[in-house]
């Protein structure tokens, strides 16, 4: 599970979840690097503002919900989304809404 953060929030030891590329497509830092202060300075000098890190605390997507809660979430979702996903992005978007609804229930 990765998380988008601003480079201002980087702390020593955080793991980069996805490679960082500049606008020409050159890779500046590869995935799975353990971030340190020197990386922050380097990214700053390249004008990078946000990065994806591995989010170890996030287990929301692994959380188990009982079938009644899931049914309830599905009903709420169907009231708010009246269209069907047509590609991977829209599947992700619907998953994103579902997670949000489940957390609120």
């Amino acid at each position: 599970m990765s998380k988008l953060i601003s480079i201002d929030e980087i702390q020593d030891g955080m793991i980069l979840a996805e490679p960082i590329q500049n606008r020409f497509g050159h890779t500046l830092l590869g995935a799975n690097i353990k971030l340190e202060e020197k990386h922050v300075k380097f990214l700053k000098s390249c004008g990078i503002q946000t990065i994806y890190i591995v989010d170890e605390n996030d287990n929301s997507s692994n959380k188990q919900y009982d079938s009644e809660t899931l049914e309830k979430a599905k009903a709420l979702l169907n009231q708010r989304i009246t269209w069907r996903p047509k590609n991977e992005y829209e599947n992700e978007l619907i998953e994103f809404v579902t997670q949000h609804i489940l957390e609120k229930l």
């Binding site: 998380k3 988008l4 601003s6 503002q49 946000t50 994806y52 047509k86 992005y89 992700e92």
Partner: protein, 282 residues
């Protein structure tokens, strides 16, 4: 009186924006104006300066190190982004916040708009857009037409809100049915009147489609999706609960990285919480 006429008259008698913004705009039009002069103009309005520094220091902008003075804010964020923040704060203050309908208030709407601004800027950053100036502002202003309705045709707008409930339709459709124009059109009138940049006028008039003709417009596509995200996460309230279908073309325009939605969720909520507190407090 005809709704459109009321709006056009209303818009032409619009409350003037605070002195700090008009002085700032004039100064920035002059190429000889120095950073120190700009800083002096902004600092003359203490309340505005205080909020700008708070916004500049929030993790939303991702600046390293503290911003303690307006001069530093101008240096780190750039003239235009600071002007954008001043403008957003000025407009939020220019409209009254007490025209409340049962289920929809100007505060809900501003919160929704800030949510769209936050999501839009994060989309821009995630797709590697280099110039993110205007991304936050575009989100803030996309629904300005609804404010026009709140302000100039409150009685008719109360009927719009009722129709959303009884007929179970999106607010933009209810507006068209009762008022004869939706907030995208009403907003375009005010955006032109305020001489907002054409990029922002386009956002206001076309955020529902996310596209003008066949042109690739990353900012417009980002606001279109940002609006959908803010609704999906209940960041504020835009007048109805629907999460509209994205225009399929925006995915090709934006080319978002895989996993963007789940990975950006927490940051969007956190940035939204911080910025609404700063920008909507008196």
């Amino acid at each position: 009186m005809d709704v459109i006429k009321k709006i056009i008259e209303g818009v032409s008698n619009l409350p003037t924006l605070p002195t700090v913004y008009t002085n700032l705009s004039q100064a920035m039009e002059n190429p000889n104006t120095t950073k120190e002069e700009i800083a002096r103009i902004i600092s003359a309005d203490q309340a505005a300066s205080f909020k700008i520094l708070k916004v500049a220091n929030s993790p939303f902008y991702g600046l390293r190190g503290r911003v303690d003075t307006i001069t530093q804010a101008l240096l780190y964020l750039g003239f235009n982004e600071v002007k954008n923040i001043v403008f957003a704060l000025s407009v939020i203050n220019a409209f009254s916040k007490n025209k409340n309908f049962k289920k929809f208030t100007p505060i809900d709407l501003w919160a929704h708009s800030i949510g769209v601004g936050v999501a839009t800027r994060l989309i821009g950053a995630a797709v590697g857009e280099k110039n993110l100036e205007n991304y936050f502002l575009a989100g803030i202003f996309h629904d300005i037409g609804k404010l026009v309705f709140f302000e100039y045709v409150p009685n008719e707008y109360a009927k719009v809100i009722d129709l959303v409930e009884t007929k179970k339709i999106p607010v933009k459709d209810a507006e068209l049915e009762i008022l004869g124009l939706n907030h995208a059109r009403a907003g375009q009138l005010i955006a032109e009147k305020w001489k907002l940049p054409q990029s922002v006028v386009n956002i206001v008039s076309s955020h529902h489609t996310g596209l003008i003709g066949n042109n690739v417009n990353t900012l417009l596509a980002a606001v279109h999706l940002g609006d959908i995200i803010a609704r999906a996460l209940d960041l504020g309230y835009g007048g109805d609960n629907y999460i509209p279908e994205p225009n399929i073309k925006v995915w090709d325009i934006l080319k978002l990285p895989k996993g963007f939605f789940s990975s950006a969720r927490k940051k969007m909520k956190d940035d939204f919480d911080r910025l609404t507190k700063i920008m909507l407090s008196d």
